[in-house]
Symmetry: C2
Subunit: 349 residues, 2 copies
């Protein structure tokens, strides 16, 4: 009996070198994931979320999901320790992904997870923008300038090439500078405008507004929003209740999941300020064609994303295949033989 | 900001070479885990169990748990695909373990998990035997001769050095031979008796009976059990209802968990043949001294184990430290810098 168990270990560098940071490709894969979901082809158990410190909200989430038809089941393991940057000078977030095949049930890959996680989030928002933003959108405004904001700019620009102006606002000048430095090299034809921390300037007169900022603060206000615009809510509590109130349509990636969280519209739901009927539809219904997206140029449409673990697993599995094809990552023999087939000299009675 | 993320990859070979297969040490660690549990120091969310095929019961379990006081939270990921041996000639089980530290929340180790899992199961049973078997137990009988049986023999012999005779029964002659070949080298003073597949012979007149066999079959019968013996139930359904009926005491590792599973006593509970009052206590209560174990030489005591994920995490963390001390395993840089600090040439727009 061959009992050797191998797994491929994949770093972020492997993913990048294998060409996994491919915006149009990831958008297609995420769209496929939503199609699979609408056909009931995904396994999607509840996440396990443990908060280790109520005060600073240190937490680790374990998000298992699978697509049996594609012979894959896996898990994203994400930590969020908000005080890391101030306390230790390191990032607040880490993510790893484990994938198993479903023929023999063996684990096949263990990979860095923030690349996949960031890309799938931004791709989800871009798919929403494709259905819900005005086709001729020219101006995009960001509240928050971190990795999520940068990735969102790339995916949004991919689905809406009409974007010409990008306004960027952040709590620090440094983040705005970094955003513009990196993005202006990648997109020399786009005009990047730093807002020097004035969030209102990023939001006013923008066709698309994206909030992707840490901290639980109601920054975005209803009166800053222009008629006909599209708002993409990525984080937790980032907007005033006046924003959802103003919306002609509210769309979620998955309202049943969103309603149990602590995002703006989840809070409003718990307070009785919103009901199930306030939600126009889920993104899956737009992708499957069951619902139409934007129906007029005047609508203000609100999109709320929480992130779906089956999308992570779908994207991670796609990345895994690319890494294998590129002969990258490295295989580790987790187990060579069964325990008692090995020299018993290692066993202490 | 230093955003390098490293993780140590640990194979079964690394674990063995680092001296992690250390029976007395693991027993102590598992005992500590039960003490932590009795002091409410463990985080122990529900496991996520997904069955991919109802007929052949292919499944993957995701079992997160942590001990915040020891700054560790982790997860065991176990697959059980019963048809693997017959269909592909490979083992039916695989397990990997992921560990994170709780200062910054970063993952610190990814390791092979069957070694840890087997040892913690066998150590749990041995701790039960320490409290519940007769001190002068001489004869142990096994139904099932696989890895669990072998590991159980080692842990049982460690807590009850009085064991002199070991009877071994299995569905195949080959397994019985393998058991005796390996174990007689490790324990030259013990008499090993092959039962040639006659399970009854392994059970009759034994001071300790262990069932550790795959397949859901009521093998062990009440009439085979001697007065004063200790029975350790490791698998699923392995004994007739007459066995728990005969018991003077039934002890579990955790009855609240056991009662929702599909083991013999769980089934009897669901059928109304047992109640909460039928259970004498949990193992934690014996270890903490709240309850006394065996009170006379005549009692027949039944122990049922399901396995607790906080024990896996405790043992895995102990093993991790030994591997680090021995400078084994290998460190992988999962992420060197943040995504957008890396050359944008890898990014496809």
């Amino acid at each position: 009996m061959d009992n050797q168990l191998k797994i491929r270990i994949i770093t972020q560098e492997d993913l990048l070198k294998a060409g996994c940071f491919n915006v149009p490709e990831i958008i297609d894969i995420v769209k496929d994931a939503f199609v699979s979901r609408s056909k009931n082809e995904v396994v999607f158990p509840d996440k396990v979320s443990v908060i280790f410190d109520e005060e600073c909200q240190n937490r680790i989430n374990c998000l298992p999901a699978g697509i049996p038809k594609e012979s894959v089941y896996g898990m994203k393991w994400v930590s969020v320790f908000p005080e890391n940057p101030s306390k230790y000078g390191v990032q607040n977030l880490s993510a790893v992904i484990l994938l198993s095949e479903l023929e023999k049930g063996f684990p096949k890959a263990f990979m860095e997870g923030t690349l996949c996680s960031n890309l799938r989030t931004a791709a989800t928002s871009a798919i929403a923008a494709e259905y819900l933003a005005r086709k001729n959108s020219k101006t995009i405004g960001f509240i928050g300038a971190g990795e999520q904001a940068k990735t969102h700019f790339m995916t949004m620009k991919s689905v809406l090439p009409s974007i010409e102006i990008c306004k960027i606002s952040s709590r620090t000048q440094k983040s705005e500078n970094e955003f513009v430095n990196v993005m202006s090299k990648l997109y020399p034809d786009v005009i990047f405008v730093k807002c020097n921390g004035v969030f209102e300037n990023a939001a006013r007169n923008s066709d698309i507004i994206v909030t992707a900022i840490s901290g639980q603060e109601k920054i975005l206000r209803g009166e800053w929003i222009s008629e006909g615009s599209f708002y993409c809510h990525v984080g937790g509590l980032e907007d005033d209740f006046s924003v959802p109130y103003k919306a002609n349509k509210i769309v979620c990636d998955d309202w049943e999941v969103v309603k149990h969280r602590t995002q703006t519209i989840s809070r409003m739901f718990k307070l009785g300020l919103l009901t199930d009927d306030s939600i126009y539809c889920n993104l899956t219904e737009l992708v499957s064609g069951e619902k139409e997206g934007r129906s007029s140029d005047d609508e203000f449409i609100y999109f709320n994303t929480v992130g779906m673990s089956y999308v992570d697993v779908k994207v991670a599995n796609h990345m895994y295949k690319k890494v294998v094809d590129a002969n990258l990552g490295h295989e580790v023999i987790l187990q060579d033989r069964k325990m008692f087939e090995i020299d018993t000299k290692f066993m202490i009675k």
